[in-house]
Amino acid sequence: MKKKLLLLKVLLVFLLCTTIIFVSVDKDNMAVQAFSNQVIQHGAVGDDVIELQSRLQYLGFYNGKIDGVFGWRTYWALRNFQYEFGLKVDGLAGPKTKNKLVSVSQYHEGFVKEQIRKGKKFTHYGGVDLNKQTGEKRKQGQPAPAAPNRAPAQNQQQRQQQNRAPAQPQQAPAPGQNAPKQNVPQKPTAANVPSGVSQNDIRLMANAVYGEARGEPYIGQVAIAAVILNRVQSPLFPNTVSGVIFEPRAFTAVADGQIWLTPDEQAKKAVLDAINGWDPTGDAIYYFNPNTATSAWIWSRPQIKKIGNHIFCK
């Protein structure tokens, strides 16, 4: 009986030792495990960006919404962080920056992901009870709770504090629980949109493209979207996307109601390409299907090229 107890004790000690060794060895790798190894840069979306924003918010650098899109606010927050912590200020979250971030901040992944999934307003400041940071009670427009006022300016002091001791313990999941990342695809709550247009504009254009050219090859669809944009640019047509699309008798799909079919992903991609500058038509502002065109006038337009079933003209 005693022997057994001793054995147990020995085993326990041994186990403890190994975990300590293991943990200390693993400490360097921890950072990389928390984030994936990608270098995160402006414009990126996804889980790593959520983590980056959460950690920057934990330290008080980032006051925006944790939405998983690396925008300008995240960019400046990251640069401030890099500046305050004596890293190279480049606005890129590379291995060094990520390691530093992980060592000085905590990330409550479970909490953050849950809030995002539930679509709640929330914050992730350090030193504040997480339960107080979900937005239900907080009304819109009210400032963040309990002033985690660690503005970058005061960070010198903060840094020393944090070097001395790990940040105050918090309720809610321990930071170690970064565990295997859930592979459930997170539904994004925000998206990048090219400047000058909204998602609604893109949707409207995708509707038009789908209604006009759903049987066409991909570049044929990009071409239709490009024609819409060329018309917006042209002095001969209305100056807005909706103005161009709803110009009476301009598009058959608008006239016969096909524009209200639900567009597929490909149509949306085609529209994005056109907005981002692809114009397969060579600056065309008209197009027609030679098999179905009823207007004789359209044949008099100077033709540029043919894509799929459509002829594109000046």
Partner: protein, 449 residues
């Protein structure tokens, strides 16, 4: 007995059909009238605005003091753009309405450019004054013709919907008054083609630059195909299709379509005949999963451009859409960013292949520039900026300003109330050329309650 019931049922049926038919007819009429009203509104507003436009332009001609001229021109600009939008609401394919729209666009551009200018320092030139007079005369003619049409419409109770219905059933409309009237308007304006609008107007049609800066010899179809193959990186057997541009194009190009026989992947691109430059390229391929980071992808894009002899390019914007990275590059010459020289590259985030690129802007505007030193210092430029903006970065850049001219500017990235701005201060005279609020991510609305 049976007969009576049958007669009764039939009578009921006929009566029911009649009532139903009448209701349908009434509904249809209601909708027709509604649509008709829209057209009528647009049309009458248009004629009204042309009236006002004419009067206002007349007013500016009589003005002497510059102080009143600027607001008056701004007013002209506003009305012209309204009239322009109303033309857009009228049925299009009835006739080509291009000339009238172009006239309105010209009036709008002219008045805008002169209204925003400091007329104290830089008053209307003799040529601009003449252009204004010319516009005044033209607006008088258009007004006259439009009034005629309007009179006929009102007097004979003409309907736009009749024209529409005729078009829908492919009949020639019986009363062509509206169409004929507008054709006259169009013809009247057509005579104005040769109006000189002064030097400022040369730049208005930017799209007509026709790749004039391109270097190189004319290439053959065969060469075009081999160039395209190089871009696709297809290894195995391919089917290639090549077509020349149509007669309507302002410049010569080949369209090449290449299909890999094994993988069935298809790539399309346009190549200029002169010099064999790639205008755009698209590889059609599904990207299902993200495997590489945006950063890795940006390096692929940089390498791709280097491999294809595009030099001195700066990555200035990177954006991820789902599983695709889009990167915008501009020329960097001696630390001056040249924004008109833009190239966009699209990279798949699964295997890092190039999904497409667009060099149209670059090819149209890239040429050797003589970039002068700015006349004012950077501190002087900073003083021109709103003091509330916190300046984060500065550099030099060449941009297109509102007048569509290339200008050398100090470029500042600044932050004001959580928003980031790009601000351009003219390096010659310190004018604030452009203030641009940079885009933030947009929330996805479907899930937000």
């Amino acid at each position: 007995m049976l007969r009576t019931i049958l007669i009764g049922v039939l009578t009921l049926g006929i009566a029911g059909t009649a009532i139903w038919g009448y209701q349908e007819h009434r509904d249809k009429n209601a909708i027709l009238i509604n649509a008709e009203n829209n057209y009528q509104r647009a049309f009458h507003e248009l004629t009204y605005h042309i009236d006002v436009l004419h009067d206002k332009i007349g007013g500016t001609l009589a003005m002497n003091s510059r102080k009143s001229l600027s607001p008056a021109l701004a007013e002209v600009w506003r009305i012209a753009s309204q009239a322009h939008s109303e033309v857009g609401q009228l049925p299009l394919t009835l006739m080509s309405f291009n000339k009238t729209e172009e006239f309105l666009a010209n009036v709008g551009d002219f008045s805008y450019k002169t209204a925003v200018r400091d007329l104290d320092k830089d008053p209307l030139s003799e040529k601009e004054y003449q252009a204004l007079q010319e516009l005044y005369k033209q607006s008088a003619d258009i007004q006259n013709e439009l009034r005629k049409v309007q009179y006929m419409v009102l007097n004979n109770n003409l309907r736009w919907m009749d024209v529409e219905l005729a078009l829908a059933t492919n009949r020639e409309p019986q009363d062509n008054t509206i169409i004929d009237g507008f054709k006259t308007v169009e013809k009247t304006v057509e005579g104005y083609n040769d109006t000189s609008f002064g030097p400022a107007f040369i730049s208005m049609k930017k799209e007509d630059e026709n790749f004039q800066h391109l270097q190189g010899e004319e290439i053959s179809k065969k060469e075009a195909v081999s160039i395209a193959r190089k871009y696709t990186g297809f290894n195995g057997d391919v089917d290639a299709k090549i077509t020349e541009n149509g007669k309507g194009s302002d410049y010569g190009f080949y369209s090449v379509s290449i299909r890999d026989r094994k993988t069935k992947e298809e790539a399309n691109m346009d190549i200029t005949k002169k010099g064999g430059w790639p205008i755009w390229y698209i590889l059609t391929k599904d990207v299902k999963q993200q495997k590489i980071s945006l950063n890795d992808a940006s390096q692929k894009a940089v390498k791709f451009l280097k491999d294809h002899n595009f030099k001195n390019l700066d990555l200035f914007e990177s954006v991820q859409y789902d599983h695709v990275g889009v990167f915008k590059f501009v020329t960097n010459e001696n630390n001056v960013r040249i924004y008109p020289d833009a190239i966009t590259v699209k990279v798949a985030l699964d295997d890092g292949r190039i999904l497409g690129f667009s060099a149209e802007d670059y090819l149209k505007s890239h040429h050797v520039r003589d970039i002068k030193e700015p006349a004012i210092s950077i501190d002087e430029a900073k003083e021109k900026i709103n003091p509330n903006v916190k300046i984060m970065e500065d550099s030099l850049a060449i941009i297109m300003n509102d007048m569509n001219e290339e200008v050398l500017c100090y470029e500042f990235l600044g932050v004001l109330n959580d928003e980031t701005y790009r601000i351009y201060i003219n390096g010659e005279n310190g004018t604030e050329e452009k203030v641009e609020k940079l885009h933030q991510a947009e929330p996805i609305y479907e899930d937000i309650v």
